[in-house]
Symmetry: C2
Subunit: 240 residues, 2 copies
DNA sequence: CGGTAGCTTGATGCGAGTCAACCCATGTGG
DNA sequence: CCACATGGGTTGACTCGCATCAAGCTACCG
């Protein structure tokens, strides 16, 4: 890939061990890298920090894409555009989430939903790093596992035929990621929600209306909701 | 498929480095384990080979589940049962595929679609093995990545609103996994297909009828189809 | 033979899609 | 300050496609 930088043993493919593995826990990785000059080379651009405005593209997707990211602030959407004109939002990435770790994700398009702050990595380097450092490798594997399980949840959501159940599940999902108590903010547009849950925006809007009427959700400020969590679960699990 | 490799250090749990890492390519793993008495301890039951009849459960799912499998013959379905009575088939596993590698998958129910031959592993041991052997770890990571990308494809399928497109996509998917030339066998029932693509069996049946009438598929033997691949792609990508 | 399970086909209803109008907040220029 | 344009959201009238209910069909097995 890019063999030009081999400042440390970490650039070696296999068999290397980092001097202090505990410094390489994946959660700490960005912070550690920021403060350590020697570690900067792991970031694709020096510093690696990057801010993106709403609806700006982070990458357009394609076989050449080799970057991956961690979200620090804001929300990112990963999108497929079908030849027939349809759009499918495959995943939302929230603060703390990684995206672009798999080749499949790098084929997608990544766009900022809200103002976003990211850390940018070279995917290949990160992978090689994970392979030579067992601890980091385990963390990376956990991230992979988490994203796989999230995709399964998404499948479960799309399997539901009822529009209101889908929206309820989506709100539960959102709450699980950025909820505080029974409050959750909804940073994405109806259009984004629709393309995530497999509905049209009018149907999403009507489903919102239904939930509001039933007081399963209540508006509190712009794009901020109070959820009746047990009520939503009841709706989701109910026969009707 | 009868390698006479002898590496003795393999039974050690953690911190081991195999003398010949190339002997541990994930693809070869089962074969190696079969023939080596010393390696048997990696399999949860001695031998690890297991056959399952159609519609029999392989595991029922739950937090205690710690086994994972590789399919040698046949097809396996991974299923979620929702409290409201609905059923969602999250994934089909074909010969060569692994399942149960992630905790999320181990929460599901695994059932044989057709007569199945499996290899059975202890998930924790396999994971630890991957962590201490870089080459095997990379293979495991690739399996994880593959299953993540397959889940994304599934999301893309379920995002489509048209029943015929969904079925066409499903057949393409099936062909990709067990197709030969333009021939593919369909081992699973309409009910399984329906719960995989998010439709009812009647709708699936009608969609089959439509594809047949258009000669995008043609019956050749029991549960065996000849596909018009370009025609199917045209249908999938078409506006209507 | 009858029995059953899986698949197909038909008639009907319902819910999501579609098309369209409207609201409302924001922004722009005169 | 207002007139106007714009984009996102909501709401209504209507259509269409999938779900539903129901009947028949075929194959396999007793």
């Amino acid at each position: 890939m890019s063999p030009e930088l081999n400042n440390t043993a970490l650039a070696e493919p296999v068999g290397c061990l980092c001097p202090d593995p505990r410094a390489w826990r994946l959660e700490d990785l960005p912070c550690t890298l920021e403060t350590e000059d020697e570690s900067r080379s792991f970031l694709i651009r020096q510093g690696g920090r990057r801010t993106v405005g709403p609806n700006e593209a982070i990458f357009a997707g394609g076989p050449t894409e080799s970057r991956c990211f961690r979200v620090l602030e804001g929300v990112v959407r990963l999108v497929t555009f079908f030849p027939d004109g349809a759009r499918q939002i495959v995943r939302f990435a929230f603060p703390g989430d990684y995206f672009g770790l798999t080749h499949a994700e790098r084929l997608l398009t990544a766009e900022a939903v809200s103002p976003v702050v990211l850390l940018e990595f070279d995917a290949g380097k990160l992978q090689r790093l994970g392979e030579c450092n067992p601890l980091l490798g385990r963390q990376l594997a956990n991230v992979l596992r988490a994203s796989a399980s999230e995709a399964l949840d998404h499948v479960g959501l799309l399997g539901r035929k009822d529009a209101r159940k889908r929206l309820a599940l989506f709100l539960r999902f959102l709450h699980q990621n950025i909820g505080l108590g029974d409050i959750v903010s909804v940073p994405m547009s109806r259009s984004d929600i629709a393309d995530f849950v497999g509905l049209k925006i009018e149907t999403v809007s009507r489903a919102f209306g239904y939930l509001r009427r039933r007081h399963l959700i209540d508006d509190v400020g712009r794009g901020v909701l109070r959820l009746d969590l047990v009520g939503l679960d009841l709706l989701i699990d109910g026969e009707g």
